[in-house]
Symmetry: C2
Subunit: 143 residues, 2 copies
DNA sequence: CTGTGTGCAAACTCTTTGCATAAGT
DNA sequence: ACTTATGCAAAGAGTTTGCACACAG
């Protein structure tokens, strides 16, 4: 039976299929978690936990596979923050991030027209993929 | 005996001492490699190899320790690039980077007045540590 | 001398891989 | 049916840790 009464405006299955990927249960479930809730950034492990919590039995390896496949297909972007974990961002347009030191938390710089000016030309033979701005934050020490 | 005839304008030993660290052989050697050649960004492993090549027997663990100690002391900055490795940057002032996808190579955006405008205020209780701009590059595909 | 730093190897975390089984078309 | 994806567990890369020995003050 189908527990989903309403379909999203952008059918997830189609997105997956259009990316050249078979719309398997796991990929659809992961895509739904990723794209249904607006823009998000999560690590593989976070998505894995969400999937399990949502009752979708999926292995961590498959989560990694899917995230990379989605990234290659242009549905996700890898977020460049320092630290061990790789974050994936469902917002592939140009926008930027706050990063909280020590907590490894990331969130969008929203409603802010951050712009970079005077960006130099890329070196010969190279093209710019995108520009990532990470504003590193630290809890203000109370004196 | 002392094989170094000339001292750097900024004595490395003093820098290390001023950072509150004992100027041990290893720390001085590493600091020399890091700071004598202008601005650099390297991973722990790269610095380790350089040290060995320079005839300084130092363990990888000590390289990691030293890099983190230098970072805490404000002599280095961690570079936010995606990928497994952590890069350390000897230039702690505001400046930005090109990152080459696929190669995991990083280099400075030099001679370019890159500026960020309309940067929003940080959230309550947070202060900005720094702003990292990473321009991701990709080899231009020749059609 | 006393205490901090170093080296080694083992532990740890995150990520990838190989291969048998399961699912999609 | 035939092909591609998944799951598991093991391997891999990078980094951290614990403890005995060595060196700096």
């Amino acid at each position: 039976m189908d527990l989903e009464g309403h379909k999203q405006p952008v059918p997830v299955e189609k997105r997956v299929r259009d990316a050249g990927l078979r719309p398997t249960r796991q990929r659809i479930a992961l895509a739904e978690l990723l794209f249904a809730k607006g823009n998000r950034h999560l690590s593989a492990e976070e998505l894995h936990e969400e999937a399990l919590a949502a009752g979708v039995p999926v292995s961590l390896a498959t989560v990694y596979n899917s995230l990379h496949q989605f990234t290659e297909a242009g549905l996700l972007r890898i977020l460049a923050v320092e630290g061990a974990k790789t974050y994936f961002d469902t917002n592939t347009s140009d926008h930027h991030h706050f990063f909280i030191e020590g907590e490894n938390r990331v969130f969008d710089i929203a409603d802010a027209p951050v712009r970079v000016v005077d960006l130099p030309a890329p070196p010969e033979g190279m093209e710019i993929v995108n520009v990532d701005i990470v504003v590193r934050l630290r809890p203000k020490r109370v004196p």
